[in-house]
């Protein structure tokens, strides 16, 4: 294990090819809620990556001693404790951003992404590969959050990380902010378009349709 190309593959695979958000559609609740600005999106992404990596490490370390009957509870307890610690750290050192994120840091606990990775990967692999896999998935999630957050902040406020990029019409520029971008539906649109773009580029990601509408079936015959 831990050969050069292998590590690289584990880290980069979840960025686009196996992206947890756009391919597996996991963890989108928070991806929608916290992406109004880059700063909150980045904080959320970092928090989730840290929680995911640590949880994977801890669970993988004790994986041989977790009784099957209570494994989900044990995993959730560990994840929840890590989330509380992260939340407390944010409240202490990043009070402003912590207020903007409100409940969503706490909701990392219920993020399917975290339990998905610990349940599917960390439970069967050694600590180091598990943490790498978790870190890679965290990066994949972060990438999507940053793209959605960047687009929403750019078109919603004309700013990136709080710095004015597009001159606003109010201040004598030419750009009229799209306030829709600051509302939750826009995140759905952007995420949908993103998934569509990725699946057109990598058609193997598209799922087979579960049923064919009747009209289409006749046309196919």
């Amino acid at each position: 294990m831990a050969k050069g190309p292998d590590v690289w593959r584990v880290l980069t695979e979840p960025l686009i090819r196996q992206n947890p958000v756009t391919l597996q559609i996991l963890g989108i609740c928070s991806a929608l809620a916290v992406t109004t600005t880059m700063a909150t999106a980045l904080t959320m992404a970092v928090s989730l990556t840290v929680v995911l990596t640590l949880a994977a490490g801890i669970i993988s370390t004790i994986r041989r001693h977790i009784p099957d009957s209570i494994r989900l509870i044990v995993q959730i307890v560990i994840v929840a404790s890590l989330v509380i610690v992260i939340d407390q750290v944010l409240q202490a050192y990043f009070a402003e951003i912590s207020r903007a994120l409100s409940v969503y840091v706490g909701l990392i606990t219920t993020n399917c992404l975290v339990l998905g990775r610990t349940e599917a990967y960390a439970r069967h692999h050694r600590p180091l590969p598990s943490m790498l896999d978790a870190f890679g998935n965290g990066l994949g999630y972060s990438l999507v959050l940053m793209i959605v957050g960047g687009l929403r902040e750019l078109f919603g406020k004309g700013e990136l990380f709080g710095f004015a990029v597009l001159p606003l019409a109010d201040a004598g520029g030419w750009f009229t902010p799209l306030s829709l971008m600051l509302l939750a539906p826009s995140a759905f649109f952007i995420l949908g378009l993103l998934v569509w773009a990725i699946r057109s580029w990598l058609p193997e990601q598209a799922e087979a349709p579960e049923h064919v509408p009747p009209g289409r079936m006749e046309a196919a015959e």
Binding site: S69, S81, Q88, Q91, A95, V103
Partner: protein, 264 residues
Amino acid sequence: MAEPDKTLWRRILALPNESRAKTILVAFLVSAACAALVSGATVMLRPIQAANRAAEEHARIEALVRGIPGMADLLEQSGGELSTVVIDLASGRAAQEVTPATLESALSDTDNWTDLDPAADLAGLGLRPNFAQVFLLREGEEVSLILLPLSGQGYGGRIDAIMALRGDTNTIAGLAVTRHGETPGLGGRIEEAAWQASFPGTLLRDEAGEMRFRVAQGPASGVHEVDGITGATRTGRGVTNMVRFWLGPDGYGPFLDAIRRGEF
């Protein structure tokens, strides 16, 4: 770790995972470790969080005062500082023994708290401190602005706020919510400036001295009401009760009487 412990530990680890003893033990150990982690982090970070909250409250107070027309100049004239007074709520006079510096230690003593009669306890507090720290802004000898900290039960927990009253003790000059646990997007909107903007100019009592202040259900209809927030009826009621309690006879009532008599 000592030698016998080690063998015991090994024996525990060697138990089959599905055995009842190991299940219980793993559950216990994991929860104990997690509890230690969480409490450790909370205890260690609390001083920093408290400092953050104090700084934020100070900033809110200053923003509140600056947001009230005409008050920013007055604040500059008085050297940018509000005068801080600890008052005895029951008598309405400045407290003799307690100063702003010793207020915290005084309030950690349960003797300095009063049990509230359930009928009088509009804000759902249960206990009320005997002392409170208020801020005054003077214009010459006259008190022109009074800042009163309030707290009361909302829908999702305690709401802390600071209310600014004009010198006539009846006109609200502004409100700032410093802490709340209301649902984000519904009751949580009480922290938004747009909602707080409906407070300035609202009157507390009518000519007969009857408390009439209310958070309306829907748009305000009269000088004693402020706009309600759709979907946050209980938050609105919590704010109504909080204001009515604290500005009533069991709250700052005696203190406001003293101001009207010109004692401050």
